[in-house]
Subunit: 415 residues, 2 copies
């Protein structure tokens, strides 16, 4: 408890100090961080090797080891990302509303930092640098709680950040790393309401659910994407093939790839087998409903669980529907409110689908793969919110801000 | 459990139906509700009498009985409020962002309803009609869980709403009242993540803390206001007297009244006793720090607890400080992030105070009593948010909305 409490308090104090910091001072600090990172590269890579060795010994999978691994290129990517962040407009101070009342009272609602942001995340040590720099750009302090599998790397990176901040006008305490990666420290962060203003989990479904279920600190839910593509009766064959193959195959391991295909029965009669053949040729496992399995022998019968599953892999569930409404209802039941698409030449069906599907992003005749802060022009991404409060969809810098009313008077009282 | 689960499910289904409803249809339904309320007035007042009788027998305080009480005037106020709501612009459908990408993909971020809103509240039956009509205006379904002390009144009001909705294009299931007012049903709402998108508690500090501590559904924290006024060294005497008396006395029982006074020691030497005399003459109990007690004999010594206390009554805590910074630090330690004010002729001090105090509304030379949705020109108020995510300060209709990306393509895929 000592570490979490103590670092929470330090971060809170630092967050108050950050209120007086200018954009120029923040950008200078970010530049120091970028440069220090490259200066400390050898040290960081050496510590990263330790994580990899421990990981290998304890039998961590190669795909997770790959996420932990740092090399020259990955450090360079971090370095470049910081300069991209420096180039972005500072949202802090922006006036969101203005009002002047008859009694002369003037009001401005201005963007302000949230305060202290908690990040709980898995494997990837690049989240450490990402989260710290995004928080600082928006005037927030941050408490980082990475996973034990990247503990040496995270400590080396944060040491480098602290060294850079010491040269800057920003308090070094604005970035805190919880070095005790036991379950207890995560648990303590869930209820650190005194010092934490928000908690953002980054990682797999289990981590996110755990945080959502256990935290009394407000959480921003990110990530899980059980995304669907619905091929309506009037969909053009060529368009449908192109979009399904892109949304499933271009990068199957990410949250905006599709996991489930809903097909109008009439369209399926004409083109279904040929589409499934194409998927099968690309090594995609097909879990179909009874009708699909009858028509396409290589499909396995989908269980109820399949409709809920985010495979993040070369696999897809396929179901036939008889109306656009049936597709919408299926998505609203099994979806995770991330990204959903309809392929149709019928604009009324498209409008119905876009209005009634409950998700952050709803596409007509385009691949779901575009749901991403960079594709949306934000220049940065904290994550993709699948909840409805505060932020929905790709979160850029404004998602890390709150607002405050500044009210100017000369003696106004309420009668 | 049966009631909460069942009504949760019905509300969710209704919320999907509300996606297809027009502004005109919503306003028609609101008009039906207003008229039905007046038509059912006798019935509602009769049921309200039952609540009052039960309350008297069980020894509920007269101030709470007054909150439960309905009469012709109060019904009329509800009626008028609904017509004011009808006149407000519908936020749903508003385009918040627009983007066209080089590849021809067009994006619109539109305001949409949140979905299903849960309201947990105490005593006042007018919250029942308020919450229901605000939710419907913004296309949301609502689950109402009032207190047992107003159960007959709430049931009569919701029966009236249901009768009105039956005449409208809106599903009657959009408004659900939990009639079992045992603790268990509140507890069940805290974890009804499957059907509830947000939970808004309205009432005392204990209720709000209970919901915050126990809910896994996202909560919007409202209400508690331990508000401060800081009199800086350069404050004009007349201005300070006027503002302090207004902020403390104009309506002491509300959240934007001040509970604590911080006074610069130099100013206090000259004007302190005279100000405290005025407060004392108005029956305000004064809890001072040691210096205040030495100077003003009618003051009682404040305990540590006093600095945290929202009296909501004729009482105030008073502390001397030697700098503006000390005042800010005190507020950030003991305040509830609601409304705070500085009285000063020094613009640098005012700017420092407004930038560094962590609260929804920070005033310079004006009474804190203005923090209110109607005073801020919103035409309606769901509550005053004291948290930093989603909404901060007085919440108008937009606080009951989320957003969704509508994305229009003609075959765009990600390369």
């Amino acid at each position: 408890m000592a570490e979490v409490q103590e670092k929470g308090k330090l971060a809170k104090v630092a967050s108050y100090q950050l209120n007086g910091i200018t954009t120029k001072e923040k950008n200078e600090a970010l530049e120091y961080i970028a440069k220090q990172l490259v200066e400390d590269k050898e040290k960081i890579l050496k510590e990263n090797q330790k994580d990899l060795q421990v990981g290998e010994k304890s039998g961590i999978s190669t795909s997770i080891l790959d996420r932990i691994m740092l090399d020259d290129t990955r450090i360079e990517v971090m370095y470049d990302a910081i300069f991209q962040l420096i180039a972005l407009d500072d949202p802090i101070g922006e006036v969101l509303e203005r009002l002047e009342k008859d009694n002369g009272l003037r009001m401005e609602r201005k963007r302000v930092p949230i305060g202290v942001i908690g990040m709980i995340y898995e494997a990837r040590p690049n989240v450490t640098i990402d989260a710290a720099t995004l928080a600082l750009k928006t005037g927030n302090a941050v408490i980082l709680r990475g996973s034990s599998s990247a503990t040496f790397s995270n400590q080396a990176i944060v040491a480098s950040i602290h060294q850079a901040l010491a040269k800057s006008k920003l308090p070094a305490d604005a970035v805190q790393l919880i070095t005790d990666t036991s379950r207890e420290t995560a648990q303590q962060l869930f209820t650190l309401n005194e010092y934490l203003d928000v908690l953002i989990p980054r990682g797999g479904k289990n981590l996110i659910q755990k945080v959502l279920q256990s935290s009394t600190v407000p959480v921003i839910e990110t990530g899980a994407g059980n995304c669907h593509m619905y091929i309506d009766a009037s969909a053009k064959q060529e368009l449908a093939f192109k979009l399904v193959l892109n949304a499933k195959l271009q990068r199957p391991s990410v949250c905006n790839a599709i996991e489930s295909l809903l097909v109008h029965q009439d369209w399926f009669k004409e083109h279904g087998n040929s589409l499934l053949e194409k998927l099968d040729k690309e090594q995609v496992k097909i879990y179909g409903d009874e009708n699909v399995c009858k028509a396409f022998s290589k499909a396995k019968l989908a269980t109820e669980e399949d409709w809920y599953t985010e495979y993040l892999d070369l696999a897809i569930s396929v179901k036939l529907v008889s109306t656009c409404e049936e597709a919408v209802n299926h998505i609203n039941k099994y979806g995770t409110r991330h990204s959903e698409a309809i392929i149709t030449q019928d604009n009324e069906h498209a409008a119905y689908f876009q209005q009634h599907v409950d998700a952050a992003a709803v596409y007509h005749n385009a691949s779901t793969r575009f749901t991403d802060g960079f594709e949306f022009g934000y220049g940065a991404e904290i994550g993709i919110s699948t909840q409805k409060l505060h932020a929905r969809g790709p979160m850029g810098l404004p998602a890390l801000t709150s607002s405050k009313f500044y009210i100017y008077g000369d003696g106004q009282v309420r009668e």
